[in-house]
Symmetry: C2
């Protein structure tokens, strides 16, 4: 934590001119060789090396704000380059101005015309904006001495709506409606905060169900998950149908009828194929099907949902901006909104998505796992509970039990629940030793070893 006073009058506004200015974006390419163990393997991503384009936002007064974009290996350097490309947009800007108007700051980055063209508002360029916005939030939370969830929940409804860009949303959600939702949620907020600090927030686990795990490992990890207190587990599906059926039968038998089981196809199917494949698995009493088809296919998700109810449809980790979430909700295509900490333009756009979900009465169950996603996204779910949804019913934050030790403030799950972090910040700061060890390609983890997925597979004719 920097000791310099940033002349940032948190929540006050005005005051003397700031002295600290943003001086640069330090971006590192961090990769973990997870493909060695097939952790994270699914129908579309058979061999990921979980990675992070890791950003440190720096100021002239020595402040640091941290964030990252999660990727799965090759191409992490492209993501890093996209973040670095935003440096001229923020260099020299007074820190106090940024922290006082994170809405305006975020809009400036999202709407920067040449970099917006590279999306628009999607893909590498959009995630880069998210990284810079999230680093500014991290810094603001550190200076305020609060965890992000608390910082956000302490803002007034009026301050919160100023953070949101309502362009493209107004046919589904106006600023006035958002204000109304936030004001209505103030009832019982203090009790909820006490409860959150005492008992945390429900988690579900995806640790057991990676596609590359054999049946023995699947069952061993599932039984452990039940012992650990989880009430919802998730399995990857979507490769071989007979394998999906067998694995689900084994897991259902092991956990009994009470435990919720969700499945995740990671976009493997066309619409009609999804309906057939999911219908054939009905007997296992499934809680949700996640990413049954292309993440862009709003109408496809709606058709699948109509065909397979009461099985819920979940999606969102690859929904690239607020306009996609708006449509998923308008078309009644989703039962479970899965925000991601890194896919959209940061906390501001995720706030818009939380507001949309609240307007449509659909629960938010964040996507996590990866690198740092649990650490980051838990703040948004906890804010949602305190200041917007007001409930934990049918809500769970995803949890995958690996790579947490690399973070300054690791996510902590006990008895199947996330404990609310109390340390200042937004969660993405990594340990310095981890940054040095897993820096690619020069870190010791890569100099002394490699991973099966490090090299690309050139195309071969069939």
């Amino acid at each position: 934590m920097p000791s310099v006073n940033p002349s940032f009058p948190a929540g006050r506004g005005g005051g003397p001119p700031a002295i600290a200015v943003i001086t640069g974006l330090d971006v590192r390419d961090i990769r973990f060789p997870t493909s060695r163990e097939l952790d994270g393997s699914d129908a579309m991503n058979p061999m990921p090396d979980y990675s992070a384009a890791y950003l440190t936002l720096q100021t002239s007064a020595g402040h640091r704000g941290y964030s990252l974009v999660f990727t799965i290996g090759r191409g992490n350097d492209v993501q890093a380059a996209a973040i670095k490309a935003l440096e001229p947009l923020v260099t020299g800007v007074p820190l106090a101005d940024v922290l006082r108007d994170l809405g305006g700051f975020s809009r400036h980055l999202v709407n920067d015309s040449p970099t917006r063209w590279l999306g628009p508002e999607k893909g590498v360029a959009h995630m880069a904006v998210g990284a810079v916005v999230n680093a500014a939030w991290d810094l603001r939370a550190r200076l305020a001495g609060k965890p992000l969830w608390k910082l956000l929940a302490d803002l007034t409804p009026e301050e919160l709506v100023r953070l949101v860009d309502f362009r493209y949303l107004e046919d589904a959600l106006t600023q006035a409606e958002a204000l109304e939702l936030l004001h209505a949620a103030r009832t019982g907020r203090a009790e909820r905060e006490a409860r959150l600090l005492a008992t945390g927030y429900p988690a579900y686990t995806s640790t057991p169900g990676w596609l590359g795990y054999d049946d023995e490992k699947l069952l061993r990890l599932t039984r452990r998950a039940v012992r650990d207190g989880f009430t919802l587990v998730k399995l990857k599906v979507g490769a071989d149908q007979a394998d999906d059926d067998r694995r689900l039968a084994l897991v259902r038998e092991a956990v009994g009828p009470a435990l919720r089981i969700a499945i995740d196809a990671n976009q493997a199917w066309s619409v009609d194929e999804a309906i057939a494949r999911i219908s054939a698995l009905r007997r296992h009493d499934l809680y949700w099907i996640e990413e049954p088809t292309a993440p862009d296919d709003v109408l496809g998700h709606a058709a699948i949902r109509r065909a397979i109810e009461p099985i819920r449809v979940a999606t969102g980790e690859h929904a690239h901006n607020r306009v996609m979430f708006k449509q998923l909700l308008q078309a009644r295509a989703v039962d479970v909104v899965q925000i991601d900490a890194c896919r959209v333009a940061g906390i501001n756009e995720n706030l818009a998505i939380l507001l949309l979900a609240a307007k449509f009465g659909v629960p938010v169950c964040p996507h996590a796992g990866g690198v740092g996603l649990c650490e980051m996204v838990q703040h948004l779910a906890m804010f949602d509970y305190l200041a917007l949804s007001g409930t934990q019913e049918d809500r769970f934050i995803e949890f995958v039990d690996h790579l947490h030790g690399h973070f300054e403030v690791p996510a902590v799950v006990r008895g199947g629940r996330y404990l609310a972090p109390t340390e200042p910040g937004a969660g993405a700061r990594m340990r310095g030793t981890s940054v040095e060890e897993y820096a690619f390609p020069g870190g010791t983890a890569w100099v002394s070893g490699s991973s099966p997925a490090r090299q690309a597979t050139p195309w071969r004719a069939a």
Copy 2:
């Protein structure tokens, strides 16, 4: 043109093992200082420097295939890096294999798991796939001694459908339906080819209507467009409503009631705002409104279309993949499908989009302008005419009259019609002198001068 025989038996298949292999992807950052004159200025992009991430695919036998991704300035280096990141996926691959199975080659690149994560199938990473696929097509066309439109139109329906990835499309278009469309379009193909070679393909012009041009320049260029034989002109709108109204009145008065006038808001509006703004311009007898709102907003476009008919709704230049086009058509959200040569994963995905448009009976009017977009996309429209739509009715390729001289085979428009190129290739090859002059930042154009848009504008508090 390389003189080495690539051992590529065009259209034959089989044959002896190939000797030529792909050796690398040479990528250059090319930028034109167009912001000096406000060419290309619109409601969302006030000051573009038209740019290209320019790719030369190289083989061990000295072959070269050319393509590019069009961007508007800063960030062109990120696009270039994304293309370069695909090099390990293609290096060492026998050229003959690639050219014999461009469908399999394209699918391998699109579905490469780590780079797909960066989209998925959208943004910089997806456009990079398009660049590599298009360069391979350019090389194939050069070796076949044909312009791309002719090469494509000479393929059999069976060969064409093998190029398309029908995953995610099958609820709207199956391979069998695609085959049927292509077979049906064979009637009259020879006559159409003769007509195309004799009289070309209709163009429309956007040259007069950039937002940064004053009334005098707007009118002067509009009158010239009419004299030049254009029957459809397009104006940028979406900033000030009174300006839009005045400019349209001036243009309508200058050209009379017969000329078609389209307008383009470049995503400036929310849905309800779009309906109000367009409705207020009805008196000018508008042919289409282009990009009235977010390009991702399928349901929004459908709502706008219902509210403003009979004015047509046009979109597509920023629709990032075939799934978006599928939905735009399924939701009856568009009257005009605007494919772009560089936004999607290359000619293969554009073929899927042409097939979708044919299935739904919606005309394709390609987006062009930019750098090299006219040169590239004309081939797809001409193929569509010969082998799929079978008509030029209500079809126009966009034309903007600048930067053509930088290309080996510049697009040629005479009497308001594109002349069919007869030189081999897919259109993107630039002149070597232009590449050297406009290379950024070392080319002479940048060493000896700059542009207003070269430097980013750091954010300033309101």
